[in-house]
């Protein structure tokens, strides 16, 4: 792959897909890599929200707890 130069990160196009990879393969590759790096971490069961803002707040709380537990595991 030749070298491409950009003046800003925002100008950079998404990386090209590997030759022969269809969309499902591209999704699989990225998602599975993401789950290797950061294992699933979410509340089990049913949780009800009065608004999507509340659901987003719980997602944020979940991220904080994920980081806290990861830091704990690393010691």
């Amino acid at each position: 792959m030749s070298i491409q130069k950009y003046k800003s990160v925002s100008d950079m196009p998404p990386p090209p897909a590997a030759p022969g990879q269809d969309l499902a393969d591209r999704i699989r590759t990225l998602w599975n890599r993401a789950f290797l790096l950061s294992p699933p971490h979410f509340v089990r069961g049913v949780t009800r929200f009065t608004s999507t803002e509340e659901a987003d707040a719980m997602r944020a709380a979940n991220e904080v707890e994920r980081m806290r537990r990861s830091a704990q595991q690393r010691g």
């Binding site: 998404p14 969309l23 499902a24 591209r26 999704i27 699989r28 990225l30 998602w31 599975n32 993401a34 789950f35 290797l36 294992p39 699933p40 971490h41 979410f42 509340v43 089990r44 069961g45 049913v46 949780t47 009800r48 929200f49 009065t50 608004s51 999507t52 803002e53 509340e54 659901a55 987003d56 707040a57 719980m58 997602r59 944020a60 709380a61 979940n62 904080v64 707890e65 994920r66 537990r69 990861s70 595991q73």
Partner: protein, 188 residues
């Protein structure tokens, strides 16, 4: 915005109800298959749904990681019953009975379901504030790995995401605008 008291309660829920993290490298995972299994079950049960959020972006070719499957569902008693049936076909979990039309058609337009196993949780939505209702949602049919998916159009996703607070939504909106050459002001 939720107030700090509500946030503290949500945080407590997370601490109490999140099981310990299990590293994925110890077992085979296929997150896409997890999502497709649910969508296939929706199709088979005749659920009236539209996939939105991160999974929808991926379906439109904007590949990014996500750990939730956001689905808008038609807020009708029979449809929510079909939704429960579809989820029970994937997971044998009595908690699924807690997903009710009384909530989704009433005071709780967003219900999150964390299955007992798997890589994804589901956000089940019937409306987004006063802005987006199921009946108004522009959708189309796509296919991924042989599974038919009813998904919000790129323009509908852009409209949903462009004025929201979350950074990831703003980033998604920018990616959609660039990929599909929308005007910045393209709004509802």
């Amino acid at each position: 915005m939720v107030d700090s008291g509500a946030y503290t309660r949500l945080q407590q829920t997370v601490v109490e109800r999140c099981p310990p993290q299990r590293p994925c490298y110890s077992r085979v995972v296929d997150a896409l298959d997890d999502a497709l299994r649910v969508i296939r079950s929706f199709n088979e049960a005749g659920v009236d749904y539209v996939v939105v959020g991160g999974v929808a972006l991926n379906v439109h070719g904007l590949v990014r990681a996500t750990e939730d499957l956001d689905v808008f569902v038609r807020p009708e008693v029979e449809n929510i019953a079909r939704l429960r049936q579809a989820l029970k076909a994937v997971w044998s979990d009595p908690d699924i009975d807690g997903i009710t039309a009384a909530d989704l058609c009433g005071d709780y337009p967003a219900v999150r379901y964390g299955p007992p196993e798997g890589t994804l949780y589901l956000d089940i939505l019937t409306r987004l504030g006063e802005m987006t209702k199921f009946a108004d949602l522009e959708a189309e049919e796509k296919e991924i790995a042989g599974v038919r998916i009813r998904v919000a159009t790129p323009r509908a996703l852009y409209r949903m995401k462009k004025n929201t607070v979350r950074a990831i939504d703003r980033s998604d909106a920018l990616a959609l605008r660039r990929a599909f050459q929308f005007d910045e002001e393209d709004g509802p």
